[in-house]
Structures are given as structure tokens and as C-alpha cells.
């Protein structure tokens, strides 16, 4: 067994998640927002893999889960970027702040 306790992984994941969240919620550049979301998903991956190894009930499926997560995240990023491009074509901006024509 490694000397690195599970908690450390979990903390790392949590911090990563929070950083991603922070980025997703505050960055004005839409690309960075999308990347931040990837960061959050990766935090989950760390969780899954760490749990798969060190949990009270360790199990291999966690790692498989993380594989799927990675794939899906990639797809999501792709779709997100595609939509962003369409948006950029029409609006000439990737600034998230300016995407507020619909409100109230």
C-alpha cells in the first residue's frame, strides 16, 4: 500500500474541481470556460481512480468509469467548441459576458 492516503487524492480532486468551477464561473473567455469544465471532469476522474484503488470497497469499475468520463468529456468539449464557433460566426465574440440577449 502506498503511503499516500486516500484523503490526499480526494483533496486534490476537490481542489481541482473547485479551480475548474471557479474558472467556469468567472472567466470571460468562453474557451477557458469550456476548458475549466474539462478540469472539473478530470477532478472526477482522479476521484474515481483513487477510489478504485483505495476505497473501503475497492473495485476496478472505477477506472473503467473514468475512461468513459474522459471520452465523454472530449465529446462534450468538441460539441461545446463547435457551438462556440457557430456563435462566434454570428457575434464575433467569445466573451461569455456578452451572451445575454435572453434574460429576465
Amino acid at each position: 500500500m502506498s503511503s499516500v492516503p486516500l484523503t490526499a487524492y480526494l483533496m486534490l480532486a476537490l481542489i481541482l474541481f473547485c479551480i475548474g468551477l471557479f474558472g467556469a464561473l468567472t472567466k470571460r473567455n468562453a474557451v477557458i470556460v469550456l476548458i475549466s469544465i474539462e478540469l472539473m471532469l478530470n477532478a472526477v476522474n482522479i476521484n474515481l481512480v483513487a477510489f478504485a484503488k483505495y476505497s473501503i470497497n475497492p473495485g476496478l469499475t472505477g477506472q473503467i468509469f473514468s475512461l468513459f468520463t474522459i471520452t465523454v468529456a472530449a465529446a462534450e468539449a468538441a460539441v461545446g467548441l463547435a457551438i462556440l464557433i457557430a456563435l462566434y460566426r454570428n457575434r464575433q465574440t467569445v466573451n461569455v459576458d456578452e451572451m445575454d440577449t435572453m434574460k429576465r
Binding site: 473503467i64 435572453m102 429576465r104
Partner: protein, 511 residues
């Protein structure tokens, strides 16, 4: 996993999914090779045939025993059948809307529209049948990704773009939150199979981790509220609904929402039914107040904010938020009526909401506006639109002899059925329902009491059929709800939902 194992599975249980998958693939291929100028309208027939085929397949499966394949990641039980019917029915109706949606932007992408719709449907159906976190997640994402694109289908429409982007970002965050929660659920139980998770939940070791479990539950639950557009992840809905093409809005508000409830039911009920809470009580009992808060908040936000809306699509977005809040109510007490109540409500909701969106689509297309004033004097102009619209609105408001009332009645039964009865929640629900009267009846008032000039509204035959079907169903289910309930009781045994067939074997096999 060799070929033998692969062949040993009873693939026929997946027939509906295969049909949809096949048709979707076929559509994408045909679309690819079709001439750019050629009308994609006929493709709708193909897509429709696919959905009907899948429906037929499900009806043929009605008598099938509960089966599970692919190491119990996919199961065919009453629950999945019951809800797949809803998903398919909803998609079928949305397809008609989609094929009649008139905008230059859409025309070139219409083929895309159809197969995306089917892909989304496929994802939703997978969710209904999943018994594993991974498949559940993949299904969810399939639905989500397809929906993101559909929302932005009007490529040159800034609002459509914006709505798609907002949807992606919100969806991404929601996915991350959900997954984060799920990762803890997995971490505490070490399994991704729902039934195994449930088994491991009874592990005495877990008693120590009541808090963590509670956190995991709440985070996952909150993440999943994205799909159903409930608090706290509901705020995307108005913007996305407003910007997306009307059929997509209809899809999001009905099929996607149904899928959201499917995953909630699957995930929450199976995995947490035996989970220990902080005080070693049942977790589901302990989280009651929190679910209650979420349900109440959703109802209040949805209904209260809807009061100020002038944009009909936005109004329906808030209405749909509110409706999600209603459907969350039975989750609080989780009485044994849960499934049929939610199923019935979603069925009713399907008819009334798609019916309403049909009329909205027709009107917004003709008047080139989303403002509520497009309904002015509709009763004079086109009574055959105004009267069904009234039925839908009454049904949404939960007025008797409409399906919505029976649904709401059932929800009350769910809220008050078990001890302790949740009178406050029921009261909040009724109070917010009263607020909803104001905006629903406002539309009615505009239709009946205001005089509006404007031409008679022409309704394409397909839309008219959807309209008639929805209107008749809304009334019939309101007058004779037993038609649906008997069908449910006669064909679905909800005990199957909890029946773990293969998990036991695999479990022993693993160790």
C-alpha cells in the same frame, strides 16, 4: 469477453434501442448522400417509422420477464418499458413538430435534426434501461450532447447559438457536479452496478460515513436536477427554451425532462433505498427535508417568476420548472405509489405540454413573435386552436377533467400518503399552483377576452393531428384516468424495479 459470451446475451431485449440506433444511422447516411437542395421532409417519415417500430417492439416486450444483459448493465424491466413508452411517444410527437417547423435555417439541417433527435432518444432510452452508473452516465451524455446541438440548430440565429452555448456550459457544469457526486457513491461502495451499490450500502462499515454519503447524495441529486430543470440547476431553462427552436424546446421540456426523472428514479431509489443516514437511520428518510426544500424552491421559483413573463416560450420554461417541482414532491416521501404517480404525471405532462408547444409553434411561426400578444383574440380567429390550448393550460394548471388534475391529485396522494404526511409541502404546492393560475389564465384571458386582429391561423395537417391527439388524450386521461392506470397496473409490475437477478451471481463470481 469472447464472442460466445456476446452471443449468449438475449439481444432481443434491446430491440427498441437497436431500431432507433439503426434508423438514426440510416438517417445520417441518407442525409449525407442526399442532394443539398432536396427536401428532407420524407426523412421524417422514416424517423417516425423508426420510433413507431421501437414502440411496437416495446409493446411486444410487455410480457417479457425482467431480463438483464451485458453483466446487468442493461436491464429490461417494467420500469424501463413504462418510461420508454413515454420517451418514444414524446419523441414521436416532437418529430411531427420538427418536420413542420418552418425556418430557412432549419431546412438545410432538417436531416440532422431528425437523427439528433433519435440519438437523444437513444440516450434517454439507455438511461431507462441502465442498471449501471457507467451506462447511465453515457446515456445521459448522449442525450445531453444531442440536445446541445439541437438547441443550436438554427445556426444563423444568434439566440439559438446563445441558447446552445448556455446549455453546453450549464450542462457541462451539471455533468461535472453529478459525476463528482457519483464518484463518491462509487468510492463508498466500490461498485458501479446499481444493485451492487445498494447491496454494499448495507455494509456496516458505511455507517461511519453517513455524512459523506449524505453529501454524495445531495451533490448527485443536485447535479441531476439539471435535466429536469429543477432548483438549483434550473436557471438555464428559460434562456435555452427561449432561444432553441420550438420543437427542441418541446423536446427539452418533455422528453429530456422525462429522462431526467428516469435517471433520478433509477439512481436514487435503487442505490439509496437501503443507505444509512447520519444517525444510522434510513438516508432517504433523512434527506426528506432537503428534497422538500428543493421541490418547494423549484415550485416557487418557477411559478413566481413565470408571472412576469411576456414571452410565451419563456413562460413555458418557467412553467416547466414549476412542473418539475411538482413531480419532485413524491420523491420526498417516496411512497410506494411513486412510480405510477410520476409515470402518470409525465404522461399527462407530455400531452399537455407538447400540445401547447404545437400551438405555440404554429402561432409564433405565423406571427413572427414570441410575445404573449400573439394569442390575442385567438378564440375569435381560430377557435379550434383556442379551445385545445385552453384545455392544455387548464391541465397544466391542474383543473379537473383534465389529465393534469389527476396527475396533481396523484402527487398529493404521494405527498400525504405516508406518515409523516407532508402538509407543508402540499400547501406550498397548492399555493404556487394558485400563482400559476394567474399566468396560465392570463393566456386564456388574452385568447378569449382581448380582441385581436390578425388572420385566421392555418394549421398544417400533421400539427393538427398532434393537436387533436394531445387534446383528446388530455381530456380522456382526465375523465378516465383508469385507462392509463389500468394499463400501467396490467402490464407493469413495479416490483421488478427492485428485482436483482444477475447481480447476486456476478457478485459471488467476483469474489
Amino acid at each position: 469477453m469472447d464472442l460466445d459470451t456476446l452471443l449468449s446475451f438475449k439481444w432481443s431485449v434491446m430491440a427498441p434501442e437497436f431500431i432507433i440506433l439503426g434508423v438514426a444511422t440510416l438517417l445520417s447516411v441518407i442525409d449525407l448522400f442526399m442532394k443539398k437542395e432536396a427536401s428532407r421532409k420524407p426523412l421524417a417519415w422514416l424517423a417516425g417509422a423508426g420510433v413507431l417500430g421501437a414502440l411496437a417492439a416495446i409493446f411486444m416486450q410487455l410480457d417479457t420477464e425482467v431480463t438483464s444483459i451485458l453483466y446487468d448493465t442493461y436491464r429490461l424491466d417494467s420500469f424501463s418499458k413504462a418510461f420508454k413508452i413515454l420517451l418514444l411517444l414524446g419523441t414521436l410527437l416532437v418529430l411531427v413538430l420538427a418536420s413542420n417547423y418552418k425556418k430557412e435555417d432549419i431546412d438545410e439541417n432538417r436531416g440532422e435534426f431528425y437523427y439528433l433527435l433519435l440519438s437523444a432518444l437513444l440516450g434517454a432510452m439507455m438511461m431507462a434501461s441502465s442498471a449501471d452508473l457507467i451506462t447511465l452516465f453515457v446515456g445521459l451524455e448522449l442525450l445531453s450532447l444531442a440536445s446541445y446541438i439541437m438547441a443550436g440548430l438554427e445556426r444563423r440565429n444568434k439566440r439559438s447559438n446563445e441558447s446552445a452555448f448556455k446549455y453546453v456550459v450549464s450542462g457541462g457544469i451539471a455533468t461535472a457536479i453529478t459525476l463528482f457526486g457519483m464518484s463518491y457513491v462509487f468510492g463508498l461502495t466500490g461498485e458501479t452496478n446499481l444493485f451492487l451499490i445498494a447491496q454494499n450500502m448495507q455494509d456496516p462499515e458505511l455507517l461511519k460515513h453517513g455524512f459523506l454519503l449524505m453529501f454524495a447524495f445531495l451533490i448527485t441529486f443536485a447535479g441531476l436536477t439539471f435535466k429536469i430543470a429543477a432548483a438549483p440547476l434550473h436557471m438555464w431553462a428559460p434562456d435555452v427554451y427561449e432561444g432553441a427552436p420550438v420543437p427542441v424546446t418541446a423536446f427539452l421540456s418533455v422528453v429530456s425532462k422525462t429522462a431526467g426523472f428516469v435517471i433520478l428514479l433509477r439512481f436514487i431509489i435503487i442505490t439509496f433505498i437501503a443507505a444509512p443516514g447520519i444517525d444510522s437511520e434510513s438516508l432517504l428518510l433523512e434527506v426528506q427535508p432537503y428534497v422538500m426544500i428543493l421541490a418547494a424552491t423549484t415550485m416557487i421559483i418557477g411559478n413566481v417568476t413565470a408571472l412576469r413573463q411576456r414571452n410565451i416560450k419563456r413562460m413555458f420554461a418557467y412553467s416547466s420548472i414549476a412542473q418539475a417541482g411538482y413531480i419532485l414532491v413524491p420523491f420526498v416521501s417516496n411512497s410506494s405509489l411513486l412510480f405510477e404517480l410520476i409515470w402518470f404525471y409525465l404522461l399527462a405532462y407530455l400531452f399537455m405540454n407538447i400540445g401547447a408547444f404545437t400551438i405555440i409553434q404554429v402561432l409564433t411561426a405565423q406571427e413572427k413573435s414570441n410575445d404573449i400578444s400573439i394569442f390575442r383574440g385567438l378564440f375569435k380567429r381560430s377557435p379550434w386552436l383556442a379551445v385545445p390550448m385552453t384545455f392544455f393550460l387548464l391541465s397544466l394548471a391542474g383543473i379537473p377533467i383534465t389529465a393534469g388534475f389527476v396527475g396533481k391529485f396523484g402527487i398529493f396522494m404521494g405527498a400525504l400518503g405516508l406518515e409523516p404526511a407532508h402538509y407543508w409541502l402540499a400547501a406550498v404546492m397548492m399555493a404556487t399552483t394558485l400563482f400559476s393560475y394567474v399566468y396560465y389564465f392570463n393566456v386564456i384571458a388574452v385568447m378569449f377576452f382581448r380582441d385581436g386582429e390578425g388572420a385566421k391561423v392555418s394549421v398544417p395537417s400533421g400539427m393538427a393531428a398532434v393537436l387533436a391527439f394531445c387534446a383528446v388524450s388530455t381530456i380522456i386521461l382526465g375523465v378516465m384516468p383508469d385507462l392509463a392506470l389500468d394499463f400501467f397496473y396490467g402490464n407493469f409490475d413495479i416490483n421488478e424495479f427492485f428485482m436483482n437477478i444477475e447481480a447476486v451471481d456476478t457478485h459471488t463470481h467476483d469474489h
